[in-house]
Amino acid sequence: MQETIKHVACPYCGACCDDLEITVEDGKIIEVKNACIIGTEIYHHASREGRVGSPRRRQPDGTYKDITYEEAIDFTAKMLIKAKKPLIYGFGSTNCEGMAAAGRVAEDAGAVLDNCASICHGSSFLAIFDTGYPSCTLGEVKNRADVVIYWGSNPQHAHPRHLSRYGVFPRGYFTGKGYKGRKVIVVDPRYTDTARCADHFLQVQQGHDYELFDAFRMVMHGYADKIPAIVAGVPKEKILEVCEIIKGGRYVHIFFGMGLCHSDGRNHNVDIAINLVRDINEYTKCTIMAMRGHYNIAGPGIVWAWQFGFPYCIDLTKGSHAHMNPGETSSVDLANRGEVDAFINIGTDAGAHFPIRAFEKLGSGIPMVTIDPSVNMAATVSDVHIPVAIVGVETGGICYRMDNVPIQYRAVVEPYNGILTDEELFDRIYERMQELKKEGWTTDEGVWDYATPLADVRPVKEVYE
């Protein structure tokens, strides 16, 4: 019998569209409505032939043999206990319940806990640490914004429904004219499909965003006459014209993507963008938002901030306290230096995303477990691959949209072949670790002592009683 489940949230991009309608029959997904082409594929993928239905152990000849969950959990628990500095990385594509459970495991294992922001909007975090984050929810853009800027992002490809749901086309409470009432400005080195929707396209010279921001800030501070004829490939007249539009707007919003945080300047580009927002607020209301990629990549930053106080690159190996220092405790750097001795790849594909030299160190010499519904590149070189239920398809949970609004996900079908959710899996790994520790299992290097406070050398007076 066919059944249609409505108001389903989509596990693809950070726009987290929650208006999908999924038709299922006999546990199979038949039809997907309202989703973009990529979201639609994710649902159909779940019902397709070739899903992995059981944990698998890699054999000496490179083939894989099915094992039980007990065996896979036992392997993972022993690996975490024996390792001195295991790395647990990923979490772009799972729910917050799984992230919270993983946080408990990582703390108990003395692991480094990191998420995909490490290779994505991590540099934006650095800017936020320095400058703050004057932002809003997407509904504010929809209901109020009459000037919308997409800088270094191409949502028409990466967040296909972003323009229609939030940024450009929707009619909101104070924006009844929809796109006709909005001025859209796109800044990008390429004439992207998003740029085609723009009223004004500024073709910034690749890698020179900082200079263009600087020119905007000069205008906002009253030094328009001091800027040169061309800045970062953009004529002065164009800059002045756009600045007038910004100053005349009732509500200005800037969406920025990896074009800022992953081109030359990185966190400095985001830093100056945020400072520009502060400047614009002297004239009119202005907010800014990072175009987060995966549907729940905002999640680990939020969950671990409440568990450990840090969003990413969290080194828990000291046992006594958490420590974050991107560059030192970030996954790629740890891998490059060969500092980790066990690796869990969960809800992402380090094999596809990491620099090859970094991934070689992880994939060849140390024990590795991949936790993912699909066979991805990391899974093909893992010692153990543990499939889990697909969030938003086979299990629900909370996921954070790019504006940090929690969206409650739904399950539309039962997990394939009775596979576990991420939360169940991590909870069982935790329980198994407790059993093994009682049996006397320790790290190969011996047990680490907890650090003890040295009252006399602490640099801040009266830091903590």
Partner: protein, 573 residues
């Protein structure tokens, strides 16, 4: 379940009029009972003070802006977090602690129930996720309502029944506890970069004033007969000369009487009053002055009001409030980083780090004003001690505030030795004329237990040691018959209770947290109102046109509310 008997402690329980009386407290099956068997475990409390578990009426401990404060301040962790105890989770953060540290520190201070002060309804499931991960303490959260488009429209037309039906729907949808009012109208104006700084400034577009919003919320709250009154953070917070706005706001209670079966006497709770009692017209020491006496004179004679203090603790901290325009103002004052989140149709929030530096005149004056409020209060059942955690200081500094109130010596020591402009502060505030005033331990129990529970409408659950109450009991290393001569002993004793029972389970024993896995509750109000087709239509309409989430995904799913405990209020009966 284990039985306990707390022997020979000096019990202080204002709900029974018990003041430092030597008596035994018996605990069985999570409740306080009259007697226990001979097998009961004995806790020797001779020479110690025994009180009910503490109740916090206003603390920002869980939710989106709290977490923004954690996320964007790594420096709040660096060298400012204690080393982990081997039986506990890591405890990270100074001014905005991680959830584990929050739970442990409240337990160490002997607190059993904490009300999260501001929950944006759209992000309610975030609040409940953090509550799930916070150990030991029972929690509630108050949805922020004073800039909500639905209510602004209903209040403009004075449709209190419709406002009530909507507010009731929000309480149920968010699993919320009470109606919170933050900068009425001003936060909506902030959507356009504006503010409302008096109670008569019109709100852009909605054509309503803050006064009408506050009165509308009072009427809605009494129409719904909720356990707690409306919980107000008035306009114009933090600005010199704002005490007139504060008095104007407080006077809105005139003519209203509480309508609630839960025992409260107030129709408005005004929170963190310290930030609202400033005179003068600038932050210069030649102008800025305390107006705490003027405000407290009004509070003292107005029986349907309660307040909490919002004491400045002279620390580096993180300010966070749904008063978006204020945080923008603050970042211009101190030039530190600024985070802001405007929440569609509902509210906003801002976060800015702040240093209450005793070397500045202003921090000293603010410190004095907060203490004056508590010392001026005639009825300690209507004045509660908070730090508006973390805005005026972290909650785990409460014991330091207690010390300053219990001991004039400690207070005067700060003026003389810690404040750089102590003399100037004495000149411009009332702290000098209060220089020998002290509160008693009994009054402290009123201001942190019995009075708070009564104002929240939960005196049947918290703040008392009566037989039959849940066994939330704190034991402190203070002998009421032999009070310490060194005021530091007060701070030490209240920071690390000797023992603390949460629902009859020992959470703290011999000054150490020994157990954090006992059951905890999320207390919420299940408000039931007559069916209202118009409000149902209005809700559908706004979700169709203005919200970016579907109506069906808005209310917190049952599976995301952890250990719920509903207080049912049915006005259809």
């Amino acid at each position: 379940m284990t039985e306990y008997i707390i022997k020979n402690g000096s019990v202080i329980d204002p709900t029974q009029g018990i003041n430092a009386q030597k008596m035994d407290i018996c605990i069985k099956d999570g409740k306080i009972v009259d007697s226990v068997s001979g097998n009961a475990k004995v806790i020797d409390a001779a020479g110690k003070t025994v009180m009910a578990g503490g109740v916090d009426i206003h603390s920002h401990v869980a939710g989106p802006k709290v977490d923004s404060g954690r996320l964007f301040r790594p420096e709040d962790k660096l060298f400012r977090s204690p080393m982990r105890k081997s039986n506990l989770r890591m405890e990270m953060g100074f001014s905005v602690p991680s959830v584990a540290k929050t739970g442990y520190d409240y337990a160490r201070m002997g607190f059993s129930y904490v009300v999260e002060a501001a929950m944006p309804p759209l992000e309610a499931s975030h609040v409940h996720e953090e509550i799930r991960d916070t150990p030991i303490i029972d929690e509630s959260a108050m949805p922020v309502m004073a800039n909500n488009w639905f209510l602004l429209e209903y209040f403009k037309n004075h449709e209190i029944e419709n406002a009530g039906a909507y507010a009731s729907w929000i309480l149920n949808a968010t699993r919320g506890f009470a109606l919170k009012c933050v900068n009425p109208g001003g936060t909506e104006a902030w959507g356009w970069g504006l503010n409302c700084v008096t109670i008569n400034d019109p709100v852009p577009y909605f054509d309503i004033t803050p006064a009408e919003i506050v009165k509308g919320l009072i009427e809605t709250n009494e129409y719904l007969q909720l356990p707690h009154s409306v919980h107000v953070h008035a306009n114009n917070l933090g600005n010199p000369g704002n005490y007139t706005t504060t008095l104007d706001t407080l006077k809105l209670v005139e003519g209203y009487a509480p309508k609630s079966a839960f025992g409260r006497d107030q129709v408005m709770h005004h929170t963190h009053l310290q930030f609202h009692c400033y005179g003068g017209d600038s932050f210069k020491s030649s102008s800025f002055e305390s107006k705490s006496k003027e405000v407290m004179d009004y509070v003292n004679k107005t029986k349907n009001l309660t307040i909490d203090t919002g004491n400045v603790t002279l620390d580096e901290t993180t300010t966070m409030t749904a008063d978006g325009p204020f945080e923008y103002h603050l970042t211009h004052l101190n030039h530190l980083k600024w985070t802001n989140v405007d929440v569609e149709l509902e509210t906003a929030a801002g976060v800015v780090p702040f240093v209450y530096d005793p070397k500045t005149y202003i921090a000293g004056a603010q410190w004095a004003i907060g203490l004056e409020l508590a010392l001026f209060a005639q009825d300690k059942e209507r004045c509660f001690i908070t730090t508006d955690h973390p805005n005026a200081g972290p909650f785990w500094r409460y014991p330091r505030v207690y010390k300053w109130l219990l001991s004039a010596k400690a207070r005067n020591d700060v003026i003389e030795n810690e404040l750089k402009y102590g003399d100037k502060v004495v000149d411009t505030t009332y702290i000098g004329e209060l220089s020998d005033k002290e509160i008693s331990l009994y009054e402290l129990a009123q201001m942190t237990r019995s009075g708070v529970a009564k104002a929240l409408g939960v005196s049947h659950m918290y703040g008392s040691l009566k037989t039959g109450m849940a066994a939330n009991v704190a034991i402190y290393d203070i002998d009421p018959e032999n009070l310490p001569s060194d005021p530091e002993q007060y701070e030490k004793a209240f920071t690390n209770s000797f023992a603390f029972f949460k629902d009859g389970v020992l959470a703290v024993e011999n000054n150490e947290v020994v157990n954090y896995r006992m059951p905890k509750k999320t207390v919420w109000v299940n408000s039931i109102v007559p069916e209202n087709k118009q409000v149902e239509r209005d809700i559908r309409d706004k979700f169709l046109k203005a919200y970016t989430v579907d109506l069906e995904n808005y209310a917190v799913f049952d599976e995301h509310v952890h250990n719920p405990y509903a207080i049912k209020v049915d006005i259809t009966q």
